[in-house]
Amino acid sequence: MTDEKIKVLLKAALPVAGDGELQRDLWPAMLQHIGAVEARRVRFTPWDWVIAGVVAASIFISPSLIPGLLYQL
């Protein structure tokens, strides 16, 4: 088999790549992926701030709670 023959066979077997342009825009899919990752992240809600405030206030009012908290954390 000659080089020319191999060349012809390869050209026939492999699809033409075209001009390299994508069939569709990939950026929206990328943005959707980034959004999905962000959505999985748990944010600090107002309710969380209320709980954190109550905990902080309790500790401030009664510092004797600190050893008990540290003992079981």
Partner: protein, 134 residues
Amino acid sequence: MNRHPYVRAYMAGVLLPNWLLLVVLVGLTVYGIPSPFERIIMFPLIVVPNLWGAWNTLYIAMALKRRLPLGLWGALLPLILLPLGLVLQRLLGLELFGWRDVVTALPLLPVAMGVYYLAWRHIVGFFNRVVGME
């Protein structure tokens, strides 16, 4: 799954000594611990970390995610830790807290539950996401 490889490596490494400490705890409970200080630190050093792991495993194993947020699940843990601590101190021959002290320390419970809620919602939840469990 390639995110936070060092956190995942640390979590994998810290597991075995935690389990071994449980064996140490059982051994020391059976044979007795000479130092009162060691008896006191047994609970926060051995029982609490392992119970956190078991509690999280239970959450995943029972597929509670659909029914209960992780923060609320974690907030329930102090309700178990408090009586468990009392039982353990009896087993270790300590008289740190009596039932009267428990009643006095009841205000600690909602504060502990609040701390646990935040810790489980934001920190344990983060670690669960790191290992791909959420």
